[in-house]
Symmetry: C2
Subunit: 236 residues, 2 copies
């Protein structure tokens, strides 16, 4: 069944945004009384389309949902080219990320003003919402403001930075050593890599440098790999 | 250093194809005596560009390479839309796949003739070659002819089919039970899923049905997840 995220709840009715309404009416060509799933405030509802041009979404009942993260995952990524960013936001959402922190790094695209960033964030939010609907999540990942490395001093839980330095711990060893943790933060570097100075700052903030192995991966592949691994490690 | 795959070796010289020559000359703007890495027949060579319009690739010496698969992986995938296929071929190459078998399935695009398939395969071969260069592999994954399910009767090693059936083994349990295997074959279904009949055929051919967990993943995400998992499980 098609799933949407509502923007408001009004007694026994849910209100979708215009894009979703367009999707229901024009893309899916749904009719009165057709059923959809709607999430509001992390609760999943079975709904039917009412009359009045289908804009009326009536709640039938609450539904159970069975996809739960055993760990809360925050991904910290530099600004990359649009296509790569889009792919990361879509795939990270599918793979269960909870929060994404875009960050300024020495070797990533940095000349971006607040307006331009906010426009980008709108686009990323849309991608995350659509990927959440498609993958039947009951929440949409949070995308924060653009941060600097030094802003990462208040993160809780296990902190990892994917590094290409020699003689560091494998991600496997590190996850096995922390198999009781319920919150993981992961920094991923830009194309040119994280600088030595940046790694020092991260280590001083409590980050563990880990290697994903000796494969050479494109930067946009790394989030998919690390999220797949975490899902696997914490799988029953 | 930039890496290329040679098409021929002639005594102490290697011969690249025209696309690579164009890349060296026009994209990378290299000059006489510049160094490149060239792979021929799974051997990695350090080379210098000779004179005569840079077409002369002179071998300096053999180099060691340190990326080796501990398991040999064959991915068996249905025909999907072009963009999804391209992404799968690129990412699967990065993540170390050895062979890809395109397969006809009930719910995938099937009206394709031999000519059209061969054109597609040329494109996929190009994608795999470029991804192999970028990720510093010394081999390019093999893409076979288009097969049918019943042609999968001669595969050796562990055989997995990613299934959404209820009450089946997790991929984790299955890999843990087979941690000595050196060859894994994985079938991934199309958008609409593998049919019950197809699953029956695969099981009769020795395939184990496994679940990747309860996330709902896009079909093109599944190969990246399973390859990430296998790399992780067989990581030191």
């Amino acid at each position: 069944m098609q799933r949407y995220f509502a923007k408001e709840k009004n007694n026994n009715q849910l209100i979708l945004n215009n894009d979703d309404f367009y999707h229901i009416k024009t893309v899916m060509r749904m009719k009165e009384n057709d059923r959809i799933e709607v999430v509001y405030n992390k609760i999943l509802y079975l709904c039917t389309l009412g009359s009045s041009n289908l804009e009326e979404i009536n709640i039938v009942k609450e539904l159970e949902h069975n996809i739960d993260n055993r760990v809360n995952i925050t991904l910290i990524i530099p600004l990359l080219k649009e296509q790569k960013m889009d792919l990361i936001f879509q795939k990270a959402t599918e793979l269960g990320v909870n929060k994404i922190i875009p960050i300024i790094m020495e070797r990533s695209i940095i000349n971006i003003d607040k307006n331009k960033f906010n426009k980008k964030r709108e686009r990323w939010n849309r991608i995350c919402k659509e990927a959440s609907e498609q993958s039947k999540r009951i929440d949409v990942p949070i995308i924060t403001d653009l941060k600097k490395l030094k802003d990462l001093d208040k993160l809780e839980g296990l902190k990892l930075v994917c590094s290409t330095s020699k003689d560091i711990m494998s991600v496997k060893m590190c996850l096995k050593n922390n198999d009781k943790c319920d919150r993981i933060n992961i920094v991923i570097g830009p194309e040119g890599g994280i600088t030595e100075n940046e790694e020092k700052i991260l280590v001083s903030l409590g980050f563990n440098r880990v290697t994903l192995g000796n494969r050479i991966l494109r930067v946009e592949t790394v989030p998919m790999v690390i999220l797949s691994i975490i899902n696997y490690e914490f799988m029953e």
